[in-house]
Amino acid sequence: MGSRTLVAPKNKKNQLSFLERLGKKFSDFGKRFADGSLGTKLSHFIFGAGNFYHKQYIKGFLFLLIQVGILALMIFCPSVNGTPYGWKALRNLSLTHVTEGGAFDPVTGHFTSGSDCKLMVLFGFVTIAMIVIYFLVWNLNIASSAKADKDKKIGKKPSTFKEDLQELLDGKFHVMMLTPTCIAAAVFTILPTIFMIALAFTTYNSQDMNDLGTNLFHWNGLQNFRAVFTGEGSLGVEIKNRFLPVLGWTFIWAIFATLTCYFGGIILALLINKKGLKGKKLFRTVFIITIAVPQFISLLAVRNLLGEYGPFNAMLMNLGWIKQPIGFLGLHPGDSEMLAKFMVILVNMWVGIPYTMLMTSGILMNIPTDLYEAARVDGASTTKMFFKITLPYVVFVTTPYLISSFVGNISAFNTIFLLTGGGPTYTGYQAGGTDLLVTWLYKVTIDQGSYNTGAVIGIFTFIITATITLVTYRRSKAYNEEDTFQ
């Protein structure tokens, strides 16, 4: 999806010829069938037939196995939790072939459960993926047979299975290397993402469903997106009233969190790498430890330290600076929102600065020393050198990092979730004062079961992060250098 938007503007010419290319594809296809050997012709119906014809038994068998496997899945419709895959899953995708279920036989104890709409959607998409694969393999198996035909024609022997494997280690090496990742990404990233996007167009909201006394949901078009602006639906008012504030805070947070850690890290790196300073390694180690300790440990430690009855408040009270403990992290509904916001940014510096420090240390050492020498000859002060040489150089080199950490901060779940839990909460709203889009999404889906609303928030988050990434990435050095490399 993303790739097309990226490539499209450059390939205007190719787009124009798209229809031509399509036509050619079809004619090629017809020609392949007409010119093909008996095996190739048969391959159009039985996978691997051509390979068997050319005595490539293992390959043929593998093709056949795929055909039989997918067809069996399509026809027999195996089911999980009572929800089938296969052709029934395609039919189910409409979410109209549903039953409420609940028929119960008091004597035998036999219980008929109703349709599980979420699985219907999920398995529907899995089945579509299977069908796409079926046709890809279909084309592949014909092509494989056609190639063997061609080899035969020019007097070469069709490749053996062993040769095919060897080809995988050389000419088709990328196929072998990328296949596991492609499969894994398709199953564990792309399919779930499609599923999630699809939920945004449904009425899958546990509370509404409970109110209606049903287990079923259905498609409802763009209604959930409209609710963001109109405030309709069970979470509508919350979404309408809280969406912009949360979005705004997400940006403010991302900007501050990125910049504070970035410049804080540079300054720390400069301090540690100061000439003549002893114990560099020791200092560095101290800061690295915070990176190494799992966040759920270190952030919870901070949270407890700053708690109402924690050591920090106790210290302030002993010093007589405060009379009442302060709710630093907004864990209490009445606590100050500004203070909580300030504190999460502050604590995030604690988390993020060592990281930037490490990164910039290396870069600082790579700054050509003659630049400084020249400046020194000109009588530039240390401060001036910092602003004229060091900073520009570091910023220039680390711009990609700055962007990726900005995007990362937009969806920084751990810091907010573990520190404030999104608090201080507001009476009547799920989204608290320090909730980011992602933590709000978590509450809305995992705590509330409003999957459709969650999906809408998720899609908005995605649009924001993807836009920033794409726009900046396309302008970056890395992207443009890629072109020259190609």
Partner: protein, 480 residues
């Protein structure tokens, strides 16, 4: 063009696996789920006990024919775990009774039809419980839950700083708090269950309150929701009283961000209204000797609280109320039909008086059956339990008299109180802050009589309709 060769192969393998491994077809064959094992989920604290007595049962009944595995679950989140994927849940699970409607409606539970078991449930349990263990399936009413533990809120207090007399009333606690320069009392959370101490408070002299929750509701989908009332003058007076009590420097406070136990431990509050499941934490906070247990205290309405109201008088004494709930065994809808009879047999055993008694002795679970207080007393007299443990049970049984079980109707209406912002409105009133989401109107001036009436109207509306009204009516309806 063999680009995706391996990619596809693995997919086909998966397809083949799917065909091979899964349940096979749309219509379940003859109970492929029956693996000769009955799995039971109970609360974490009593898993060991129930495993022991189940093993005993199997040993005593060689013809039972099933292996029983008991696992402890976090009872607070177990209902969510079950609804997420009921097929992965145990055959028999336990939840608080207010989840029955939801689990029945989402088809996670199977009714109980064994006459012997039904008879036992009807014979053993108080009428209040019997009202809330039924739900409907396809417009048929069935018994769904079998009570085996009763639960109610009561008071934990710090004996070092509060005398027993002081712990009997909110005013007494206030007095003790003044002496200790701290707050009198806190709650373990701000949800509807914890706030029930105020909303369900009843007049001591005649146990009366005008609060009604779904009274006379029919537990049939589409049936009547019954009558709810939250706008009586006594309720208004109680809110006003609590507003003043919370504003007092030695009055009520919400639990700190470190948890109510931190308040207790650090003398941030002298008492807390909590349940039996808070016992270990409370004990750890105060130490066993300092931990006092009592009924939820009484309070007397002040002149300011009753000003301008009828039907209430200054000096009227109320006792804090509670939802007196029960935990129930339920049968998973996805459990194999062939296990059905044995599951009911097992539940009958696990919910029998004998086992409930044994579970009190071993795990401090307060029995749910009528007359359990005699047994509880007897155990104490015979020296089988310590004083704290006795009080823990006795006060819960005592509070049951002052409370009602959380009501629910056909799967939906119970959730209103928890998740539809009723408690949030209530909290806003006590804090005298605004409540934002009344349709397009904001509930403001919650400190004024008008604001309180509006807030209570809002709560009642939430109970009945599950969502806030678009706006407040020009004149609030007079209480039913």
């Amino acid at each position: 063009m063999k680009k995706f060769l391996i990619f596809l192969m693995v997919f086909a393998m998966m397809a083949a696996m799917l065909v091979g491994c899964s349940e096979g077809g749309d219509t379940p064959a003859k109970d492929p789920n029956d693996d000769g094992e009955i799995r039971v989920w109970v609360g974490e604290e009593s898993a060991e006990f129930y495993q022991k007595i189940c093993d005993q049962y199997v040993a005593d009944h060689p013809d039972f024919g099933y292996k029983i595995t008991v696992k402890g679950m976090d009872t607070g989140s177990v209902a969510g775990t079950i609804t997420n994927d009921p097929t992965a849940a145990a055959d028999i699970y336990t939840v608080a009774h207010d989840n029955i409607g939801k689990l029945a409606a989402t088809q996670c539970a199977k009714p109980i039809t064994d006459q012997g078991l039904i008879d036992q449930v009807l014979a053993d349990n108080p009428a209040s419980f019997q009202k809330v263990i039924y739900s409907t399936l396809n417009d048929q009413t069935y018994l769904f839950g079998v009570p085996y533990i009763s639960q109610a809120l009561f008071l934990y207090y710090n004996k070092a700083l509060v005398t027993d007399e002081q712990a009997a009333s909110f005013e007494g606690l206030q007095e003790a708090a003044k002496a200790a320069n701290t707050k009198a009392i806190t709650v373990t959370g701000d949800d509807g269950f914890n706030m029930s101490f105020a909303l369900l408070a009843t007049k001591v002299s005649d146990h009366s309150t005008t609060v009604k929750l779904y009274e006379g509701a029919e537990s049939v989908s589409g049936g009547s929701k019954g009558v709810s009332n939250c706008q009586g003058d006594d309720t208004v007076a109680i809110v006003r009283w609590l507003q003043a009590y919370a504003a007092d420097p030695n009055g009520f406070k919400w639990a700190s961000s470190d948890g109510w136990d931190a308040d207790l431990r650090n003398n941030g509050a002298l008492a807390v209204i909590g349940g039996a499941w808070h016992y270990n934490t409370a004990k750890a906070s105060l130490g066993e000797t300092n931990l006092g247990i009592a009924l939820i205290p009484t309070f007397s309405l002040t002149n300011e609280a009753v000003e301008g109201l009828t039907g209430v008088a200054a000096g009227d004494t109320y006792r804090g109320g509670t939802f007196a709930d029960c935990k129930c065994f339920m049968i998973n809808a996805y459990s194999a039909a062939s296990k059905y009879a044995k599951e009911q047999e097992l539940i009958k055993y696990m919910s029998s008086k004998e086992v409930q008694n044994a579970s009190y002795l071993e795990c401090l679970n307060v029995p749910a059956y009528v007359g359990a207080s005699d047994y509880i007393k007897q155990c104490y007299d015979e020296g089988k339990v310590a004083e704290g443990e006795y009080k823990l049970a006795a006060m819960q049984v005592g509070m049951a008299e002052w409370g009602i079980p959380q009501p629910f109707i056909t799967g939906t209406l119970n959730t209103y109180y928890y998740s539809k912002n009723g408690p949030a409105v209530f909290r806003a009133m006590i804090d005298k802050t605004a409540y934002p989401t009344t349709g397009d109107k904001v509930l403001t001036e919650t400190e004024s009589l008008e604001g309180i009436r509006k807030g209570l109207y809002l709560i009642e509306y939430l109970w009945m309709h599950g969502q806030a009204p678009k706006e407040f009516p020009a004149t609030l309806p007079t209480p039913a």
